[in-house]
Symmetry: C2
Subunit: 395 residues, 2 copies
Amino acid sequence: MKIICAQNELASNLSLVSRAVPSRPTHPVLANVLLTADVETQQVQLTAFDLSVGIRTSFEAQVEEAGAITLPAKLLNDIVSKLPEGEIIIDDKGVATGQESSEKSASATLTSTSGQYYQVRGMDASDYPELPAITSGQSINLPAEALIEGLRGTLFAASSDETKQILTGVHVKILKDSLEFASTDGHRLAVVETELPEKTSQENAEEENETEEFEVTIPARALRELERMVAALKEPKSLTLNFDQSQIIFEIGQQSLTSRKLEGQYPNYRQLLPRQFANHVTVERKKLLSALERIAILADQKNHIVKCTFDNDAQEVYLSVDAADVGSGRESMSAQISSDEPREIAFNVRYLMDGLKVFNTSEIQILLNKANMPVVLTPLGELKMTYLVMPVQLR
Amino acid sequence: MKIICAQNELASNLSLVSRAVPSRPTHPVLANVLLTADVETQQVQLTAFDLSVGIRTSFEAQVEEAGAITLPAKLLNDIVSKLPEGEIIIDDKGVATGQESSEKSASATLTSTSGQYYQVRGMDASDYPELPAITSGQSINLPAEALIEGLRGTLFAASSDETKQILTGVHVKILKDSLEFASTDGHRLAVVETELPEKTSQENAEEENETEEFEVTIPARALRELERMVAALKEPKSLTLNFDQSQIIFEIGQQSLTSRKLEGQYPNYRQLLPRQFANHVTVERKKLLSALERIAILADQKNHIVKCTFDNDAQEVYLSVDAADVGSGRESMSAQISSDEPREIAFNVRYLMDGLKVFNTSEIQILLNKANMPVVLTPLGELKMTYLVMPVQLR
């Protein structure tokens, strides 16, 4: 393999795929990145894969000799990112020191135009695992914007407890002209509905005759990487989602992200959402969030529990915490409250804050029934998001 | 105690003194900050002290009732920094919940103008240790600029190994019309000489009849806090250094920093500096630093050792590392080399980088004799700094 490429191209693509390099690889070769150079297309492809999530990217280069090699991802990334701008030549033949036969050990030299010469030990490309491919399965175009909106509103509520399996993912339903994202960790549930622009659904209909409705649960870890990849693009484009029984692949331009699907039946979350609410509260989002952030300082000293009182007479919301050994706090703010009597209800303050942070409207609505029944928060605006939080019992 | 003060004043002063609050206090009261309010001066004083370094600051407030209390530094800092701008009332009487007698437990309420009410448990001010005071001793005015220059050029080379006692400090010599700062950890030595402006030395001469020359070794930890305090000031002013047998106090406007002195004889570092050098190298600082930063990626895999070759024929400097299992690297750059023959010498790459980072000139000089003798680096410019590094032996 011999390629000549631009330092900034190589650096940015290395940094992109490095996200899929495991920090504690189960096999040494997984700490490496796979470089593949093709003479015909004059493209270099980089691949990283932790056996669950894989990232692949391609970029243009002057490929003088085709080939493939794996090189230590962190070391390569560190060196390349610090090299001066300009051309870099990567060559896996003719290692200069020549002290030992290069037959067994794969290594490559990096030469930069202004006096830098590095040699890096790698491993044979044949040792690198294949990225799962999808030969037959379903495929759909998604507008990047709808995806970003859905992920932003749900990723935070997925469970981070690996034993909760299906709950560590985000459930995505692809409907005829909308997408629905849902996540829950058992204590709260976030649901975002985003409309698909007409053009997209028409395109799909043309291409695939009739768009089928389908659903899939995707590991939050993979989606966080996807979110990062899409956010790094200069202009949000559409992306393609391909999947079969066990795998999904997102394709965005020259980049792709592979992940296994989460298996199992996702909970029927719609049935958790109450149909009716006896009490409605409208309050300024930023004011409520700031107050929660202050009161959280004390609540975090005591089970994270904050007590909320909705006073319909005074049209005021009160937040309070009593952390006996440390101190106590009380916040008040005006609100529009339509309720039959003052309502007291307690929450994990972190759950409330998480939701309020991703709502991007100036006002939000809090919908509640009794103190032991689920509460729903929604932004008052264009974003169609429903955030259900289970209250905690005050002793 | 009852005071009314501005949220931003209280927040910035709390954040300043919090630097002296120990993260693992040996006594509970040391996790607190001492607030003292004076009616006559209408000033609030904040003090934090870890029994070695103390920081004190004062600011204007409306003091309605004098008094003193200690409150948990981190909690108070967290709450106050998040309160909305405006007035804050701090009161240590009439705690609202009134569930228990307030005789035994000290606590204070914080009330903010827009609906915030916090009560924080503290401890009695009488439990707080006294900051060491200096009744008789020496005193000198120092221009902030000279101090910053001296600290920047030496703090990095002080030892971070607490068992090395006197070497964990910076040695400051106050001479008639200059200051000299020195630090060494046994492997390298940094010396900065800064001139005192004439005005200052005259002032001192007038005030104290004749300025005495003296020297003192100050813990690097205290000086790092001092550097931060001075850097945070809008315009660098002069500061006063007071000290006696065991303590030093820096005073800058409304703020002061107290520290114990380091006891013992500081090494006679002047005698370590070679008088003559057989080889002189002049090289671009940034080029050399960038090359070292790249080569360090490999050197850090193998004892941090980099080999430097100064080739007088080619007028080139070569840096190289051979980390057998990982790879190897070689950097070259042009330099002006006056030497009798090519010289090879090896260093800890981190030591070279540390020095080059604080030099602020575009060119530097490297002065050396034989490969096992100390090497001196100096910036080519106004800063009078000498950085001696011991080479390492190549096997």
